[in-house]
Amino acid sequence: MKEVNGLERKISEGKRPILAYYHPPATVDLAPVQMAADLLKVADAVVVADNPGAVVHMHPLVAASVFLEKGIDTVLELECRDKNRLALQSEILGALALKIRNFLCMTGEHQTQGPQPEAKGVYDLSPVHLIQLMKIIEQGELLDGFRLGEVPSIFIGAMVNPFARPVELHFFKLLKKIKAGAKFLITTPIFALEEFKEFIKELKQRGFLEKTKVFATIMPIKSADIARVVSKDPSVHLPERICARIESVPEQNQAQEGINICVEIMKELKEMEEVSGFHIMAPHWCEVVPLLIERVGLR
């Protein structure tokens, strides 16, 4: 029997782990990561992003190693955009050697949406294949059949957008992710609770919740300008009433209002037993993570 990793164990014990999303810096020194680690240590694990937004950042494995050194668990993002199956396998081996046990399998934003649109996208594997690849490694093999010896249990995650339509089409994709071996799902940011509850109902009806755990994503919005930018992202469902609410307060109070909105949403999510954990997505606002945890009473 393989040892169950920390995050998975916490969920099985009925605890609701808190994940904090983190963008590694675009620097050549580790000081910013160390500073972030001090703020994010309140979380159960830090999700370390892999060139988010198709923008160059420090390699997530390097940033993750800083968190691990400080005793903070991590979830390593793996994006299919920049790496072929050889690079992905070597990265997974390196991560496992560093004692990273949680992985988030993603495609990543398209390279043309970042500041270096001339880059060649790789897309050798799709996320479902990446999940399958992780399962193969967990069973002690590489894709070519090379035996790795003992490999620890891996907590494999995937992303899900509860607000994507048509629902049936997106559930087909989700089904494949779960069939492939995704043990946890991280949602896109939740602002529309009623729609999210519908999504959870659907997950339950299809029996998906028996196989996978859901981390609900909270995205604190710092200003009306940011709200407008976020509202243009098709993968984030930000209702107009939320933008209007942030805009309705004076600029100096908008960050506070963004936090208030999150606290309200989190308090409702806290009441939903189907939500196994939270994922606070504030990569440029790390200070807000301990604040939200305290205000929602998660500790």
Partner: protein
């Protein structure tokens, strides 16, 4: 068809700057269908070159010809004299045609007038769109005849990405999400169970250049 576009005129004029006897060679196959390198395009190109040289007071002799196919040397034979007497052949075929000319005439300078794009179809008047990446391992039987590799910017083989909302592509919102198209068509065909299948890992080795098909039964 192979879809191509004419290169910017300035780039073409610069390319042929040093030559006075120029053969502009069109192709009646794909590039005629996509209005890039057919007879009409050859005539326009000839006029542009003559006007440019006249405006600058420079001599030029332009020959214009369009053949059935430039990817087959058989069609070069009737124009062999023309090719021989020209200093340069400005090919208005796809890249394959340019290569064929270069391989057939080792001593002749051959220049491309087109940028070759992709294998595609005419979506609407004036709009050509990619439909096949030539992956060498066709999966269209699994996807209702609609190719996700050529139409999804992320080459997704497993379904729509998180940004596909109401059937729109997140990268090119003017396009339909190809997985939405596949899903709708499978629904019509009553084959939605195919949406649940996980396709095997793609064998990209079949796309490694230079590719070649060898038919022993046809070889001499």
């Amino acid at each position: 068809m192979i879809v191509a576009e004419r290169k910017p005129i300035r780039e073409i004029l610069k390319m042929i700057e040093d030559y006075q006897k120029i053969l502009i060679l069109g192709c009646r196959a794909c590039v005629t269908a996509c209005a890039a390198g057919g007879q009409k395009d050859v005539e326009i190109m000839g006029s542009i070159i003559r006007i440019d040289r006249k405006r600058r007071g420079l001599p030029v002799e332009v020959y214009e010809k369009t053949i059935d196919r430039q990817c087959d040397p058989l069609f070069f034979a009737p124009i062999d004299n023309l090719i021989t007497k020209s200093e340069v052949v400005l090919s208005m075929a796809c890249g394959v045609g340019v290569n064929m000319l270069a391989e057939t005439y080792p001593n002749k300078v051959v220049l491309p007038a087109l940028n070759t794009g992709f294998m595609g179809l005419l979506e609407e008047q004036g709009v050509w769109a990619e439909r096949c990446i030539g992956c060498g391992d066709c999966i269209l039987a699994e996807t209702a005849g609609i190719c996700p590799l050529s139409r999804c910017p992320k080459h997704s083989l497993d379904g729509p990405c998180l940004g596909s909302i109401n059937g729109k592509c997140v990268v090119y919102p003017e396009n339909q999400c190809v997985w939405y198209v596949i899903y709708e068509r499978l629904k019509t065909l009553k084959q939605l169970d195919k949406m649940e299948r996980i396709l095997p890992f793609k064998d990209w080795s079949k796309t490694v250049s230079p590719r070649r098909v060898i038919r022993e039964d046809l070889r001499l």
